[in-house]
Symmetry: C2
Subunit: 203 residues, 2 copies
DNA sequence: CTGGAAAGACGAGACGTCTCGCTTTGGTAG
DNA sequence: CTACCAAAGCGAGACGTCTCGTCTTTCCAG
């Protein structure tokens, strides 16, 4: 009954090699042409070793991305969402960093592949959202909560909606490539989200 | 020399059957498992008839979606983007209709498949954006242009950015399934995009 | 000596091409 | 106007190829 392999005997060396190879390969050939055989070959690993521990290449890539996100956090000496008291400046700072990541092929390829795969495979999408996305969203929401407490936002502001007003348009441009992602874009986005576009003086 | 088949002799019956079958099948098995052989079988058509007129399954699905969008327009007696003079009401009306489409399995499956495929295949994504998305965006932009001319928006409003502030968050929720899509959601979105979230009275 | 790991053989199934008659089309001769 | 006929698309499906995920074998570590 090969249903439940013994995790205690699992080779950590193989596990890391597989995750690394998956990230490299998805950047080289894209998600569609990413193949478990190629991952196994690049990692110097038997195919069965991958099939034993992961149900699909999407699952491999999700684990690889989780590891990548963990690495990125530590290596950037991440100290949490900035809070200088200036909400607009803090948001612009973080969104600029996000734009830089989206423009970095190293992060773009796996993120794009996972997002696309998650859109069509609900189960994968749920794990992707829960494990990678939600923790990020919570950071934005916490910063907005502080701002609302400080009276910088309309008291009944829907914080989750506001987070989506920031990340939605950004993600939209990124996924659909309707226009290049720039710092100027996210700066303008923050200003308009906070200020709105209606002509208040004309009211 | 089979390079250039004679389009005037093309069977419209087969063409429609193929596009219909593609839409049905993508809903049943998803884009990844969608196969040209299956489309041909379902449509009661020879494989060669598909290969003769389309270069890939992506192209078939794109054409099918274009046809679907065209049908939806006519059957809804679409008369163009509403312009009652009340910008907020018009936007809410259109976004509610969009939510209804996203919640309709018939439209959801192909749209989701195409969006996801376009995200990882740049060439397909470009054609998807250009032929299906941009025409829609232009309608929003035109309505916003009218509003700006009428002094209902801040004079230097970036219209494209504003369109993305409306569709970005909606698309975000739709693709990532972070929360259900409701009319209440889009209504709130319109209000916040127009009005912003910053506490103006505290300035 | 138990069980994961590496290597690769294996069957399944989709690919894109092809061949085969059948049907449709559009031009031509009577 | 009708009858004929060549040309081209059509439905069906066989074909060789490729890649998938599983299965088998051998090896090695604890």
């Amino acid at each position: 009954m090969p249903k439940t392999p013994d995790a205690t005997r699992r080779s950590d060396r193989s596990r890391r090699a597989i995750l690394d190879a998956a990230l490299v390969l998805v950047g080289e050939v894209g998600y569609n042409k990413l193949t478990i055989e190629a991952i196994a070959a690049r990692a110097g690993v038997g195919k069965q070793t991958i099939y034993r521990w992961w149900p699909s290449k999407a699952a491999v890539l999700l684990d690889a991305s989780l590891a990548l996100a963990g690495d990125a956090e530590t290596e950037a000496e991440w100290t949490g969402f900035p809070d200088t008291g200036d909400l607009a400046a803090d948001l612009k700072h973080v969104l600029r960093a996000t734009v830089d990541e989206f423009n970095d092929e190293k992060y773009d390829a796996p993120a794009r592949a996972l997002t696309a795969a998650g859109a069509t495979e609900p189960e994968l999408g749920a794990r992707f959202t829960e494990q990678l996305l939600e923790p990020q969203l919570a950071l934005y929401e916490a910063r907005l909560h502080t701002a609302r407490e400080a009276g910088q936002l309309v008291p009944d502001t829907d914080l989750r909606l506001t987070v989506e007003m920031l990340l939605g348009p950004l993600t939209y441009r990124w996924l659909l490539r309707t226009a290049p992602l720039t710092h100027a874009y996210t700066d303008a986005l923050v200003d308009r989200v906070l200020g709105g576009v209606a002509n208040v003086t004309a009211r």
